[in-house]
């Protein structure tokens, strides 16, 4: 928790930019460098900056720890669930081609889904680690 006015204002300005860049890296990962993993780390770093400047109570008001835990698990479920869906549609595990009538469109859909799963798990896990290590002790 910092009382430095410049730090508070600059980070307030930076955090939305970091989140926007994280989303760009997520959804532009098929064309440029990046993907779910990098986007997850960038999104987590926005939350970590908020944690460093405004303290863990402020972060917990935005995202409760329980939410982060659910999100980490949901990312894995979304990834593995995409694999199960391809199994149920008659393909092999994680064979995205069967997700749509056109195999290439299916590949696109599958990659978007699993990258979303990667991003959800990575961002929430890293934010959770930072909260647990750096946050003040709590009763949760």
């Amino acid at each position: 928790m910092s009382d430095d006015l410049i730090l508070r204002i600059v980070s307030k300005f930076l955090i939305p930019v970091i989140v926007l860049f994280g989303l760009y890296v997520q959804f532009h990962g098929e064309y440029g460098p990046g993907g779910g993993f990098q986007a997850g780390v960038i999104l987590a770093s926005a939350l970590i900056l908020y944690l460093l400047v405004f303290g863990s109570a402020a972060v917990r008001a935005v995202v409760p720890l329980a939410w982060l835990r659910w999100q980490a698990a949901f990312g894995v479920v979304l990834y593995a669930g995409t694999g199960m869906a391809t199994l149920l549609l008659g393909g092999e595990f994680l064979e995205y081609g069967v997700l749509a009538a056109d195999p290439v469109a299916g590949q696109h859909l599958g990659i978007i889904l699993i990258e979303l799963g990667v991003m959800l798990t990575v961002s929430s896990t890293i934010a959770l680690l930072a909260m647990l290590f750096a946050g003040e002790p709590d009763q949760s």
């Binding site: 993907g35 980490a72 798990t121």
Partner: protein, 179 residues
Amino acid sequence: MMEELIDVLLLAALLLVALQVIGSRGLVAAIMTFGAFSLVCAGLFVTLDAVDVAFTEAAVGAGVATLLMLAALQRCGGESEAAPRVHWGALVVVLGVGGLLVWGTLDLPPVGEADNPAHQHVAPRYLEQSGVEIGIPNVVTSVLASYRGFDTLGEVVVIFTAGLGVWLLLSSRRREEGE
């Protein structure tokens, strides 16, 4: 020519930063310098055209790992010991192992040659077919998300499990403190 110059500069910077990490007195300074080490590594990955890896190294190695080490230091209240004198036995072992590793690299094929074994296995197929099969320009994404999707699922599970482990460890310690 330009490429060699950048390589030499980056490697020299890497060496300098590494020496600085060893020589720094305080643990906080060592951790911050270690972050700089990761950043120079990321630069080296860019010169190897591995931008996705460089991206990850810059974000995780220089950013998150540095922060986690600082946080761990804050929690454990680690204090740096006085800079130790040179331990000659350890220096001999390190130089010996380092020399053997450098000697081992002499048998490696030259970097970037098209007929290296690494470029002969599945890489040509990925490069030639992924545009037709997956239809996205970034082949790295095609390989990670589709061709090697099972491996990436494993990585995500590893990250999830690691986070779960840290959460269980730290939150149980807290409960004991609270009682």
